[in-house]
Symmetry: C2
Subunit: 212 residues, 2 copies
């Protein structure tokens, strides 16, 4: 499943950061402050931010990996970052826990579908807005085999317990990535945390396309 | 499980309404406009609104059912409306789909625990706030045995599909109540919609306590 990237410079561009990866080292730069410069150095990127995507078309050394992906394997509105993570694994459930939590299933290299849950911050805020009585932080130490008997556990179980139970019962390896991967790890016993999954996928796209 | 109420007047008081039930007829009055009057007519009630609860102590004909419930069977912060719904069934999963969606399990008359998910409106708003790309209405016609391959189905599956799969796999009858019960019915095949579950429970509390 795992491909150790050779020395190529990769960049995963989101709506707030340029996330660089090279030789196992990762550097994040804020989208607002980072200045794109012409250079001889090739940077292979994926980008979900439309404005930045347009700007990068002006730089020959920045190489967009999106055209090298077989988009027919996925669905139209699926983000390229989510697709890159799927490209990283042959068999597995990929849980990317960011502002939203995407769950994607890949079997024998084929995308089977996936779902999009609310992230920690967004869901916590939504509970608070329903009622101050539901304003709790989450408890990731709950036992998923027992039904909760207090409010904190009750909201954690609904928002993350059901999700973790689902991903663990699919008889596939589970990969956790994204900013809150470590928190979900407490609930998803046996899952592997891999914060470089998107980069692993990008490397595979480069190899398949024969780009380097 | 079902108890047909004799002619007693019941009232379930929430944070926005007085919800009356008598002889199978239901009448809702807004909390703001309804004027409580002294009368000879007994009204058995439960109330989650603190201010209204205090006010009602001044009226002899309004009889609070909360002291007649064995609260030790439940947990401290659990709402009396949720408890009343649990009292209605001997064996079952109760899904109360309102601003939040509570899921409670009762076996042989004993509360086993439960969880609290976000309601339709709250979760939809939370998705929208993460990204306009996630601003969808839900599709309650999705097939729960297939992983979604479009964004609308992907958010519906995460927010309600996992929940409905969970409640249906507990080998217990499933009762749907609350304002969005009918919407969830499309996903929870075999579930029974019963909008009077709380009142059924109140009637049982009255009978157990020998109040009439």
């Amino acid at each position: 499943v795992r491909v150790e990237p050779a020395s190529v410079k990769l960049c995963d561009i989101g709506n707030t950061t340029f996330d660089f990866y090279e030789d196992g080292f990762r550097t994040k730069k804020s989208l607002a402050s980072y200045i794109i410069e012409k250079s001889q150095e090739k940077i292979y990127y994926i980008c979900v931010n439309e404005r930045t995507a347009k700007e990068l078309k002006n730089y020959d050394n920045w190489i967009d990996l999106e055209p090298f992906v077989d988009r027919n394997k996925y669905y139209d509105t699926m983000g390229i970052d989510r697709i890159a993570a799927c490209e990283a694994v042959e068999n597995g459930v990929i849980v990317d826990a960011g502002s939203a939590i995407t769950v994607d299933v890949v079997q024998k290299g084929v995308f089977q579908g996936g779902y999009i849950a609310l992230g920690l911050q967004a869901s916590q805020k939504a509970y608070e807005e329903i009622s101050p009585r539901l304003a709790y932080s989450y408890n990731f130490e709950i036992d998923l085999d027992t039904m909760p008997k207090n409010s904190q556990d009750a909201i954690t179980y609904a928002q993350f317990g059901l999700l973790c139970r689902d991903v663990m019962h699919r008889s596939l390896p589970v990969y956790l990535t994204g900013g809150d991967a470590h928190k979900l790890k407490a609930l998803c016993k046996g899952a592997e945390v891999d914060e470089t999954l998107v980069f692993q996928g990008m490397k595979k796209i480069i190899q398949k396309a024969g780009l380097c």
